[in-house]
Every structure is written in C-alpha cells, then in structure tokens.
Symmetry: C4
Subunit: 263 residues, 4 copies
C-alpha cells in the first residue's frame, strides 16, 4: 500500500505517477496565479470571496498531498526536514496561520514559494538531462565564479567609495552603501538612472565603470562556456572500460587511461 | 505556363526569378516604411492622399502576387494554409477590410488591423538561407534553453514576491505581477528606472538580483556557443580517408592529413 | 628624396618613421581634446583665443603633413581618394571653411573625425597582429552577423508595432518609429526609461522582449566566439608545405592536405 | 624569532598562520562595514562614540600588524614600498591624520582601501589556483583587449560628436565630453536615461549605437573565451607518453590512451 503510494507520488515511471505529476504541476501554477492576482488591489476587492475559496481549495489539496507524502515515505522525519519537505510545508502554513493570527496578509505571500515545488516535477521530463548538464557545468566552475564574484564585489566597494568622495549628496550619493548600490547598478549595466553622476569627474569615473562592466562580463561567460564545452566533450564518450568499468574516456582513446586495458 | 510562373515566383535560379525577388524585396521594405510613416500624426495629416495612394498601389501589387502564387502552385490549399500563405494574406487583408467597415467608433480597430501589414516583413525571411544555420544551433540547444528560461522565470517570481514584501506600494511595487515585472527589468539588466527600490533592504536585494543577472547571462551564451561550435565542426567533417578511414578533415582538403592518401 | 619622405611618413621601420608616428599620435590626441574642450561653453568663453591659437597650429601642422603625404606617394590621386586620404582632408577642411563662411561653428566639430587617423598609427605597434586577428574573426562571421542583425531588426519592427497597438500615445508611444525605438532600447537591454509601458499587457510584452533580448545576446557571442576559436586554431599551425607552399595546416598534420607532400 | 613571525604573518601553512589570516580577514571586513556605516548620516549621528571607538580599535590593531610586518621581513623598505605595503599604510594613515588636521572627514573614507588587503588573504585558499587561471587568460588576451578598448573609445568619441551635432543642448547634449558620456552610457547598454535623444535623427543614431553595443559585446567574450579555453587545454596536457611520446592526456590518466603504456 505505502509502496504503491510512493510509486505514484515520488516516481514518474508509471501512468498514475505521470498523471499525478501533471495534475500537481497545474495545481501549483494556478495557485501561484491566484496568489499574484490577490496582490492586485482592484482584483482582490472585486473577487474577494472567489479568491478565498480557490485559495482554500488549493491549501486543502496541498495539505492532503503533504500528508500523503509523509505516509508514503519510510522515514517521515527525513522527508519533513528535507529541502522539498520544508518548501511543501511553507506553501500551506501561511493560510492556516492566517486563521488564528490577524494582520498576516503580507505573510500569506510566502505561499508563492510554492513555485519552487515545480522543480520537483522536472523528474518526469526529458529536461532532467539538460538540467543535470547545466548543473554540472556550474558546479565545475564554482571556484572560479566565487573568485570572480569576490573581485566584482571588491571593485564595487572601492568604486562606490570613490564616487562617494567625488559626487555630492545632492546628486543622490548620500552614503557609501548607497554609492555602492549605484556602482552595482552601473557595473552590471542595469542603469536605473535614479542616481546619476552630475560632475565631470563623476561622469568620467562612471564611464570607466561602465566600460569595465562591459568588458568583464566576458569573464563569467568564458568560464562557464569553457566548462560547458568540456562537459560536452566528456559526454560524447559513452564507452566504459571492460576491465575496470570506468568511463569518461576521450573519443579517440584506444586504451583505458586508468588500467591500460584495450577498449 | 504554370511551371514557368512557379519558376519565377517560387525559385530564384533564373534571371526572371531573381528580378522578381529583388522587386518584391524593395516593395515589401517600402510598404513597411509607408505603414510606419502613416502612424506619425504630423506626416499622415500632411500627406494623407499620397500615403493612401501608395498604400493601395502596394495592396493591389501584393494581391496580384498572392493570386499568382495560388495559380502557380499545384496544391493551392496547401499554400494558402502554409505559414507564408497566411502571412501573404494577412499583409493584404486589412486594407480590404478597411473599405467595408467604416465609422469613427471602430476607427481604432481598423487601424490596428491595418498595422498587421507589418507582418509583411516576415516575407523577407524567405530569402535568408544562412538563417538555417542559426536555426540549427537553436534547435539543438532547445531543451537546455527551456530549462534555463524556466529557472529564470521561477527566480523572477520568487524575487518579485520578495521585493513586494520588502518595498512599499508608494515606491511603485503595488502588486506581485508589477514586482515581477520590476524583477525582470532588473535581472535582464534593462533597468528602466520607472520603479526603483527606496529602502536599504530593497536596494540590497536589487543588488543581488543585478549580480545574478550579470552572472547567469553566461549560461545561454555557453549553451548556444557550445552547440554552435558543434554544428560548425560537424559541417567541416564529412569525408573519411579511404585508406586509414580517419575523419576530421577540412572541407578544402584534397589529401588525408594523416597518411597522405588522396581523399 | 621622395622615397626617404615615404619611409618616414608611411612606414614605421626606421627610427625617424617611428618618431614621426609617435609625434603624430600625440598631435592627433591633443587636437581632439581641444576640439572637445571648445564645445564646453564655459571653457570656450574663458579661453577663446588660446583654443583658437592651438587649433590653428594643429590645422597648419596637419596641412603640412597632408601636403607631405601627397608629395611622398607615387600616385597622389590614389592617396587623395583613399579612405585615409579623405579623412586627412576632412580633419583640416572645416577650419579653412570657417574663415570664408560664417556660422559654421557646428561644422567645425567634424574635425573630431581626426581621431580615425589614429588607426593608421596602429601599423607601428605590435597591436597590428591582434587587430588583424579581430578583423579576421569578424570578416569570417560577417554573413551570420548580417542574418542575426536582420532577424533582430525584423523582431524589433514587429514588437514595436505590437506595443504601439497595446499602449496609448500618452505613455510615449506616439508613433510606430518611436515604438520601434523603444523596442530597440528594451531588446538591447539599454533601458533608458524615457518611454515605459503603463498597462499590464504592455508590461507583459516588455517582459517578453527583455527576456528575448537577454537570451539572444548569446547568438552573436556564439558566432564570433566560434569563428574566433577557429581562427585561433588555424593560426597555431605555422607550417607551410615545402612542395606547394600553402599554409593553414592543422597542428597534427603529417602530410600536406593540398598536394599530399610530407610536411 | 623573526622567522617565526614571518611564518605566522606572511604564510598560511601552519595552524597559527591560518588563524592569523582568518582573524585578519574578519577584522578587515568588519572595519569596512564600520567605515560604510559611518558614512550614513543617521547612523553616524546616533552611534558617534561607538563608531569612533571601534574605528580606533581597528586602527591600533592594523598599526600593530603593520609594525609586525616591518619587523618580520628581512628588507623592510622593500615591503614598505611594495603594493601591499602602501595599501597597508593607506588603510591606517587617514585616522592618524584626522587627529592633527580638522575637516578631513572625506579623507577618512580612503580607509575603505583596506578592502584591497583582503586579496592578500587569498593565498590561504584553494581560490589562488582559480585566480591564477583567470589572470593567465586575461594576460594572454591583453593585446587584443587593448585593441578592442581602443576601437570602442574611438567609436564612442566619433558617435558622441555626431549626436552633439544632431541633438540640441536642451536635450542634455551641452558639450562633446557630455555627449561622449552619453554614447558610453548607450553603447555599454547601461542606459541611465538622464540624457536621452529627442529628435527622430537622434533616436535613429541612438538605435544604431545600441545595436552596435549589443553586437560587439561578443568580441571581448570571444577573446577571453578563446584564451580561457586555450589555458584550459594547456593545463590538461602536461604529461607525454614515454613510449609513443604523444601528449594531450587528461590529468587523471595513468596509462597512455594511444598505446597503453604506463605514464
């Protein structure tokens, strides 16, 4: 009985399992749309009762699903404190808290965390391979990305401090944190325009920051691109050594590089 | 007779076919410019009759072309319901509808139908053969791009909800959909500046979104770049040496670069 | 005599030639700075006579250089109508026209075209190799870049028309050309914010344009990147066939791929 | 004694050395945060004495560290005038100058240069390898990047002058330097929106600049990407087979993949 439930809820190999995932996918998407519409004042006022009804339907549905998941797994506690377990709970909790505690309207928005549950659905799809692919490339380039981000952050702190010295508070550079915020806005080429340099010196520094930002965007691209290409090449080789059964051989390999066995 | 028409209209190998294509190309481009100029109030008021005359000339020209295409093909229905058939019809229909539907109250509706003529521009796509190349790389990376877009959309929904919680409606974050719009504007580094965070916490979150956006732009670049390189490489290697049966030769190679055998 | 002049002015192998190029480089840069400063109202009013004096010194210097160049080359007409010949003339002409025709102040700004002359100086540097490199990659990917630009322009025309239909003129979308301008501002992730969508539908379309713009920036990067990598690899091979003296062989090539001769 | 001090302060192999680096890392980060908070008017007024106390604690700590570093090295002068030596001095000097000279509040902000000291800490980490990697790729592509930056700057000067001719000073294009600033803002896709073209011709030129900027961002990406990939490849191939003397083996390879010989 529990095993059957597990097959339906946690796996996607059977027909029932696939159906469950598709239904859940749509339930999540629709409930997210409802949460969004509720935040629009004109809609929430006009369709107050309808939204409440739909919201509670989904809350009950997700609560039942949550209970079913706890029943289905062998170690319930492990599931409850897992990443998806916590998200599952967070996506139903705000509605229940709303009954007992008033004035928790903003809290109810946390329900939009439900969207993260969608990533679980990915297991049913052919996208899981592509996702693993992306993941692998990102993990492989993790260290270099951290170094890059750290360099960017240091640059932004130093440049933000410089512009704070150059520009006056009247132009919007009222404090160093705010100036750093401006430096990030500029370096990442976002450029809101809510704070802009007014002096010639400030505009010169801004120009330098922009060109730096325009040039160094090539660095993460180069990093991920190279790792991606490597991941790609390694993947092409599908052979596994008949002796030591290790894989990851190059396409032109004739002998296993780990044990010397002929491939 | 029909075959001759087909050669002229649908093919570009003969002199007449080439001429037809060049004339059509210019007709499309000029008619697009006229549609654009018509939308500028000062121009449409000053040159009302001239624009109408040119517009009707092109409509008649494209109608004749449409009829000629129907005559030229063996299976007219198949052409009519094909992608280009629909676009060809859409590019002439609005002008004809404008005759029968009059009245000031529905003027704006007619106007917008007339603007559909802009789809004429898609007729140009027919001329581009090198586009296949780009297309191939995009199709090959379709799955990964979908996963990436889905991750970006999820990110944007979660970040948009967060900023909605942090910032007040006075700063422009009046609803979750609007906050998601802001998150997209920020993550894609567009940065209009029509909605900007005002609190320290909001600006911190904005900074994080910007840096994420600045870093993950490398992902689609890496994906398409890798697929593109593969597409490129596959195109080069078509021949295999008859002697040593190694491949990977350049397109202009006459002799095998490994054993010197003639390819 | 003429040959000696040619060696100094057009070449950079001798000591005198190098000195000439360095002096010219600084003369161009300083004259550009003067042109810029002249455009700043407060500076041009305060230092009117000084700027005029410096400007005329450079004009006479460049005129002498222009005459020297005409004398130095064997076919003066060919030089005069060449790319650099026209630029050399354009960089001195506005000053002379300014004597005879009054009210040509704005014309004098054309002198900033002098900056383009700097590219000639590149021949003296080790940068010529790197520049050729960039050039080669750009030429190789020319066709694909054109296709890409054409696709972007078509997209922008269609999206600009769509937003023109959706948004009202009050929001700034007064005509199709202006709406296309907005679409370019959005797609290229520039995002001035001078025109922004106000309706929910308009913001949705804007979001789609942004994400498209964010994703397709990968296409030119992929194209140039791939061509660049290819150029790079081809360049590594420095061998030339001893029999047919063709180059462009791969690093691992043992036999010439054109004539079969052993390398 | 001095050698022991050197081991602790300058190296990170021993337990004491690691501890010293970690403590210093936190001290730098916290002192930076304090410098930032001091620049926020509301905070600096409310917690004036607390901030002064913390600031002086760190100044004394860093002064002691500076003295210890001078004692620890064999050639103190060489350290004092080295890059990190100057930064170490600059990060404590402003506080001491503040005692003797009044009205140097803005000077004290220079203390945020302390952040650069963090890069010294990198030596303790596994990130040094990744940093070297990035550095290597950047150095290898230095010449090409300079050519690219020079081309961008020339483009920006010419385009800035053009827009200055087209647009009026009322739209914000008051001088050529300011117009060049606008051209940089546009080309790098930052797009503040503080200066925007108002005429049709100006918007057309702006559109061209945007599309150029959108397309040529691919160039630095291509350059760094290619160099990066090369650096990557070089890193992999370090061993050569003793039997067939072929190289290109992976780092984890034990046997030659071409002939099966033990590496």
């Amino acid at each position: 009985m529990r095993e059957k439930l597990h097959t339906i809820i946690f796996e996607a190999d059977t027909k029932a399992g696939k159906l469950f995932d598709v239904v859940l996918l749509w339930a999540i998407l629709i409930s997210i749309v409802v949460v969004m519409l509720e935040s629009v004042v004109s809609i929430s006022e006009a369709y107050n009762s309808e939204i409440k009804f739909i919201e509670w339907s989904f809350t009950i549905l997700f609560t039942l699903e949550y209970i079913a998941r706890i029943i289905a797994v062998k170690k319930p506690l492990k599931y409850i404190f897992s990443f998806y377990g916590v998200i599952d709970l967070l996506s139903i909790l705000p509605s229940f808290i709303g009954i007992f505690v008033t004035g928790t309207h903003s809290l109810s928005v946390i329900r939009s965390i439900r969207l993260l549950r969608i990533f679980r659905i990915f297991k049913l799809a052919r996208y899981v391979k592509a996702a693993q692919f992306l993941n692998q490339a990102l993990i492989a380039s993790k260290n270099k990305i951290i170094v890059f981000l750290f360099a960017v952050l240091s640059l932004v702190v130093v440049l933000g401090t410089l512009i704070y010295l150059i520009e006056s508070p009247e132009a919007g550079f009222t404090s160093i944190p705010r100036s750093i915020y401006w430096a990030i806005v500029t370096l990442t080429t976002v450029g809101y325009g809510d704070i802009t340099p007014q002096t010639v010196l400030g505009q010169t520094l801004a120009s330098i920051i922009m060109i730096i930002g325009y040039a160094i965007i090539a660095v993460p691209t180069g990093i991920i691109g190279a790792e991606y290409a490597k991941t790609d090449i390694n993947k092409i080789s599908t052979q596994a050594c008949p002796s030591c059964s290790k894989d990851g051989h190059d396409q032109n390999a004739v002998f296993c590089k780990y044990c010397g066995e002929k491939l």
